[in-house]
Amino acid sequence: MPAFDVAAIRAQFPILSREVHGKPLVYLDNAATAHKPLAVLDASRRYYEEINANIHRGTHHLSQLATIAHEEARLTVARHLNSPTPDEIIFTSGTTDSINLVASILGRAGRLKPGDEILLSHLEHHSNIVPWQMLCERSGATLHVIPVHDDGTLDLPAFHRLLTERTRVLALTHISNAFGTVNPVRELVAAAKQVGALTLLDGAQAAPHLPIDVQDLDVDFYAFSGHKVYAPTGIGVLYGRYKILDSLPPWRGGGEMIKKVSFSGTTYNNLPFRYEAGTPNIEGAIGLAAALDWINRIGLDALHQHEQSLIRQAAAALSALDGLRLYGPSDRAASLSFNIDGIHHYDLGTLLDQMGIAVRTGHHCCQPLMERFGVTGTIRASFAAYNTTDEVIQLAAAVKKAAAMLR
């Protein structure tokens, strides 16, 4: 494959050459977190070795360099999401933090009242459920849930029935982390706008795999995590439509987010700073920009094609095994979830780990979805730029061996 040189990519990830239980690591837990290429590790380190300083308000040279690097990182994110202005890019500590920010400021603004409704789907990650449950508790609004079909896709007629004038917020995952379902978010966001609902997309699983265009999606809020897009831990992004974000009250208070503080009253800063109280994760922002640059040098299209090919190969190889059950639709992305009849996912995962294969087992922070499918969990293999066909074959062989041991 000339366009996509997986060997060259692998060489950029030091961790991939390590062993686990004496076997070469086969890392298929990318939906949980991705590894970091040298470009990111070096950017982080260079920041500390060359320009480390606290940003904004600093008169001295390092502070200026660090400020420029931090704000250039914001520009990189804005470009990556095709955000009209960098002022709409809020750095957070992750997807969970981003979603909590939105739910909290909507709550503080009194945007939700008894009788109002928040619409989620049965596919959601706990991070896109609990903040809304907490908001409902505080505001008296109620939670409504778009059901899923047996193939793990959303029940669209039900969505249209559930979407009413009372719907204030539609909060939806772009790609399901449990089943790999890619939701028709553009269509659903457009429908939600029709009834005047605010829209939030949880892009934790989409950002590592798909080009995101917030203008094309016409969405109000888009959240994702750095650590899943090859960037460091502790950094995330909230895109927020300027007009909406600017009309909402602050969340965390402190340095940076203010214009003027006095004991008789405080005025808040403009976007994006109003939502970035305290010293930000400067290394994280710079690492995130390096990661997005790295992804864009490969090209998200090439990346996605590579990963889709792996996931199809994996689905085919696993389907051939006795008693194997795949979850999610056949055009799933990023993650492949399965179980084997009569075998506990935890046992299978434990034996795969002995063979050096890292997969995730359990409920994937999607307990309601697991309940809907009558399971306590699944085994999930999830793919990244550095995975190979050979690893897919090893996975299938290892599952076969483990299943034999457990029967």
């Binding site: 239980h21 506990h344 935890y346 046992d347 087992t361 041991m405």
Partner: protein, 138 residues
Amino acid sequence: MTIAETQQQLLEELSLFHDWTERYEYVIGLGKHLAPMPGELQTRDRLIEGCQSQVWLDASCQDGRMHYLADSDSLITKGMIALFVRVLDRQTPDDVLTADMSFVDQTGLKEHLAPTRANALNLMATQMKQRALEFAGK
């Protein structure tokens, strides 16, 4: 057999294995042959919730000897419990209470366990002793 003798026996059995496959197959085998626990005993109060698997434990005392029944939805977890049951079942409550359970560390099994699982194992041993406490010194 005394508790110490059973432990010694187990350690000898496990020392025969050369790789993880054999060791795990042995544990899985133990799990499969654990005396079945009647479904009606698998109640909430007998449940020990682990991270990813569930364990049910029942303890009774007949003729001054502890009797343990256990089950788990995970076969490997069940095998681990079977190890304990084999060691502690049919012993007096006082012997159970004073048993040195650190033999598990010598099996080499813990190295292959997730810390969550190792924790569950410790929890299990504690629970088995706790139940013996109810019947001890009588």
